[in-house]
Amino acid sequence: MNVNITTLIVKKAQAGEKKAMEQIITNYNDQIFRLVFYRINSWTDAQDLTQEAFIKAFKNIKKLKEAEKFKPWVYSIALNLVKDFYRKKKFLSFLGQANDLENIIEYDPYSENKSDLIKAKEFEEEIKNKYIKFLSKNEKQIFMLKYIDDLTIHEISQTLNKSESTVKTHLYRSIKKIKRHGGQIK
């Protein structure tokens, strides 16, 4: 989508226009959902977190000074929610009340094609075992944003509040590590 149009829509949403908000949801729903899903492996939780991310974004949209930075901003909100999700999960597992999400494939009850979800889970496992297994926390984060969520280096730097050269360095190290460990990239 054109950057100027997106900025215009965001500005309209900042003014409280409902249609603009709906347009934003239509534009970013899929991307945010995927970002969350590939990080938490749970369909229902991904739905909840995506919804929460948009609600949080719209509640604070007036605070966003540069409308053109909406995409990295909403991505950072989603990433923070994922972090919180894992924090909660860690706390619950400490109390012995959490399900082991790693081993559970949650199905969307309304999904027509469950095999797609199984494939997605398999793909997530593949990513985990062949790519991000060898990477540090930061490298993992940047690699996922670049090659799973399809963000540009500029967008990643804005989302994570890091310089572009840092992002590039992390990417370089990630690819090198994956190659060294005999990952999928040869």
Partner: protein
């Protein structure tokens, strides 16, 4: 890479995949010209970019109705005001009104009965007042006597049974050797 004929190293291929502009001019030029390096670059690029395409194709995210959540939330906010909440719940508001009415009636009724009592008795004459005071004083006197000589028939006063003051003090206080 100064020599244009030398192929790109593995590191340079990685750099070219991340951002071609980071390559120096000669390396960049070599990449443009050399089919082998170009192939390596493309292969790596395709493998990496293929991940996002695969991730995208595997999942069809559900369309969330987030705007409805917003309108619901707004409705919830109005419920927060207690007065409006009462108005919106007729049964509860009716009960509150009935309770208020009953308490007002009860308060008014009790006040009226006090007023009626004072009206029926009326003021007392001085003679009756004086006799009442006299009887009160006598009653107070007998009470004082009872306090002073209570159970006098059961108590015998003999000096033998009295403790000396020193003994008593010794009994109730600790000596220097004793500790608690």
């Amino acid at each position: 890479m100064k020599n244009n004929d030398a192929h790109l190293t593995e590191d340079q291929i990685i750099v070219s995949v991340i951002d071609k502009n980071d390559l120096d001019t000669s390396t960049y030029q070599h990449l443009q010209d050399c089919s082998l390096c170009k192939k390596q670059n493309l292969e790596l690029e395709l493998r990496l970019n293929g991940l996002s395409k695969k991730a995208e194709n595997l999942i069809k995210p559900p369309q969330l109705n987030i705007m409805s959540v917003f309108s619901e939330k707004k409705k919830c906010n109005t419920y927060k005001k207690p007065f409006i909440r009462l108005l919106l719940r007729p049964a509860l508001s009716f009960a509150v009104i009935v309770l208020c009415a009953l308490s007002i009636f009860y308060l008014l009724g009790s006040r009226q009965s006090i007023m009626q009592d004072s009206l029926t008795t009326g003021p007392l004459s001085t003679e009756t007042l004086l006799t009442e005071i006299d009887s009160d004083l006598k009653f107070a006197e007998t009470m004082d006597n009872l306090e002073d000589y209570a159970l006098s028939g059961f108590i015998t006063s003999s000096d033998d049974q009295n403790y000396n003051l020193d003994e008593f003090i010794e009994f109730v206080t600790l000596t220097s050797n004793e500790t608690i």
